[in-house]
Each structure stands twice: as C-alpha cells, then as structure tokens.
Symmetry: C2
C-alpha cells in the first residue's frame, strides 16, 4: 500500500505527528479490504496481529461470556480499534464484526510496534489515543454503575442529539436491539423505557427521535462531562 492510496488515513490524529518516512514504513505492508455486512473480523482471545482502521462503514465491538453477548461500542470512520492489544502484543479483549459493508485497513501489529519505538511523534499520538480510550472506558463504567437504565437511555439520546448538531429531530443510528445491549438492557426493557420517556418529552417512532421538552429530558438525564462523551 502507498501513502496516497487511502487519503482518509491522513485524517487520523494517530498518524498526524509522525514523519512521512515512518508513515510510509508503517503502511508499506498494510492492506485494505472490503467486507460485507455481518462479517466477523476478530474474535476475543485471538492474538492481535493487526491494528484495524475503519475507513468506511461501521464495526461493532462486542464481548461474550457464558453464552451471553453484550455490545461494547460502535466504531465509525475514521478510527482505529484494538490499539491496546496491538501495542501490548496481547490477546483481544473484544470481538469485532462489520455492521454494514465496510472498508478496513489492516496494519501489521509488528510494524506498529516497531515504528512506535522509532517515531516519538507517533508514540505520543498513541499515548493520547490510549488515554482517550481509557477515559472513555472509565466513563462507561460510571455510566453503568451510577445510573439506572432509563437514565442511561436518556443520556444516550442527549448525546445523539448533540452529535446531530443539536437537532431536536434525528435518527437512531443503530438498531434498537443493539442499543439495548449497548445500554445493558433487554430489548423488552428498552421498548418500555422508550414509552416511559414520553412523559419526559421524548417521542420515538421507529428510528426517528423527537425531543419536545428538552428541559424535562435534561432534568431526568443530568448529563455530565465526567461521564458523557460529546465528542465522537
């Protein structure tokens, strides 16, 4: 692969501060692949031989234990995933599958670790990225432990609202089934929670969300920059 092949890669902050020569080295052995929807990319427990980057489409990170499955996150372009396993040269802690047709760049972990040792700009970018990942994960834990499922749903909607330029009408970007799992609820429980939100000025019809009383919703959700991520 060459530097110009995937211009989207340049958008990644992870690669912004490295020397062009090292960037070349990094992507020389990389390759891009387009996957159909619902294809397993990696499986937890496997060894992390590649750093993955979603160039288009979207990828679900999920985990399984004792026949239960839970949705951990959705990765959207342009972002890398499982950086920690790559750097640590350890097993993946999460599985990943495509949600839709997706283009994925695969960077051999060994090259990532090698360039990481040689290029201090890249090393710093890796640190920033890992610090962000860690802080997101801490926020996830707080969200789960400190809030009820109704409060988690309310905050999820507020985050979605922020990401859609504060529109009061917007579309859910994931299926309700997966949203339920992401919020640690059953689909039935989510369905009922959605009904309960009507008394807080939220209408959800199919995938279309309409917020009619933001104050009531905020009063319930009590969003906090120390728990909720308004970036991404």
């Amino acid at each position: 692969m060459r530097a110009g092949d995937i211009p989207e890669l340049q958008k990644l902050k992870l690669f912004a501060d490295m020397t062009p020569a090292h960037f070349q080295d990094l992507i020389r052995a990389a390759y891009v692949q387009t996957f159909p929807p619902h294809v397993d990319l990696i499986s937890e427990g496997d060894h992390g031989d590649f750093l993955h980057i979603v160039v288009s489409g979207s990828v679900e990170l999920y985990s399984v234990w004792n026949h239960h499955e839970t949705s951990m996150a959705t990765v959207r372009p342009v972002s890398s995933f499982i950086l920690a396993a790559t750097i640590k040269n350890g097993p993946y802690l999460m599985s990943a599958r495509t949600l839709e047709k997706s283009r994925i760049v695969l960077l051999p972990s060994i090259d990532v670790r090698e360039i990481f040792d040689r290029d201090s700009g890249f090393a710093r970018a890796v640190v920033r990225e890992l610090a962000n990942c860690y802080r997101s994960a801490v926020k996830d834990t707080k969200n789960l432990k400190l809030r009820s499922s109704l409060e988690r749903l309310a905050n999820y909607l507020i985050r979605s609202h922020m990401r859609s330029n504060e529109a009061l009408v917007f579309e859910l970007t994931i299926k309700k089934r997966r949203l339920a799992s992401f919020l640690d609820m059953t689909p039935e429980n989510l369905s009922r929670a959605i009904k309960s939100l009507r008394s807080y000025g939220v209408q959800i019809d199919g995938t279309r969300v309409t917020i009619t009383d933001m104050n009531a919703l905020l009063k319930l959700a009590k969003p906090s920059p120390l728990i909720d991520d308004y970036s991404t």
Copy 2:
C-alpha cells in the same frame, strides 16, 4: 526530593526504562506526604496538576453522580494513579481518598509531560501503563455487563484467592460496604449473596473467607482471563 529518598519508586515499571538523569529531573520538584485515613486527595472534575503514587497505605478511587457514590478501584503500593488525566492535562474522572494512613508521592503533571516528551523509554512505559489501565477498564465493563452480582462476587473471591497464593482460607482486604459498592451491589444484597455462596462451598465469617469446594465455586464463577485480572 532526591532519587534515593523513596527507594520504592524504583520498583515502579513506569520509571524503570528512563535515563537516570531524566528520573532526577522528574522527581526534583516532587514531594512526599503522609496522609491520615479517610482524607480526600483529589476530587473528580478538578484539574490534574499532580501524578500521584501510593508508596504505602492504600487509596480508594470512587465516583459520584446525582448523590450516588460508587467505588471504582483500590490502589495499593507501589502504583501510580490518574496517569491519563496527567498526560491529557484534563480533569480527573475519579475522586481519591486514603483508606488508611498512606504515603503519597506527588509529581507535578507538567514535569511528567515534559519528561514524557524527552525520554522515549519513559514514553513507552507510559504507553504500557495506559494500555494496561484501558484493558482493565474494558474488563470491568465486561464484568458488569455479562455477569450477575452473585457471579461477580464469586469471581472476586477467586481473584482474592489467587492473590493470596491460592490459599483456601484468606482475609477480605476491604470492608464489605466498599466491596458491595465495588461489585455494584447494595450492602444488603452482598450480605445475601454471601449467604447464597454457602451452597457453592464458600464460608465467610467476618473478614475470613474459607473455600471448601473450589470446584463448585469455579463452576459458578467461570473465571476468564479475558475478564478477570489475576495480576495485581
């Protein structure tokens, strides 16, 4: 502060790979302080001006939202905490308080960031540390989402058992109240869960845990290296 003042610091993998000169620079402006039990060290939302290192005693990391508090982790010697906030120069996501009389080293964040930029050995160590923190946090989330409270307790006991050299009789190192919060249960619920574990060959009397049927406990807990940390 001088390099020889706190020999315990040398034990930290975080400082193992840096040049002695940079280590000197890093700890020059640092200071050690001994705190009584139950003293607040940092408060979430505050700005991260110091990297903290527990030299002796122990520290609880906890979080608060909407008048609820939850215990996030216990930091034992010799470990740093809130490295991510230091590196990111961002607000703390968790509060910290001493659990007992504790000696804490305080390293000015600005120095940590400066040496981080100059010393690539240190930078790599920071990356390793953050990657570990992130992976621990992911495991926490999986533990919370995939397991029931009884299963979390069972796995907590198995981890404690491993840490006490696989002894079948050992002491709980934290008060049940905090353990409950850490496991995301109420004290009452924990108390009942402990009783339920009797049918899985676990007796808990005060702080003394006795495992009489490890097979039964393992069958319930189904521990996994992809969720449980047997290190620390």
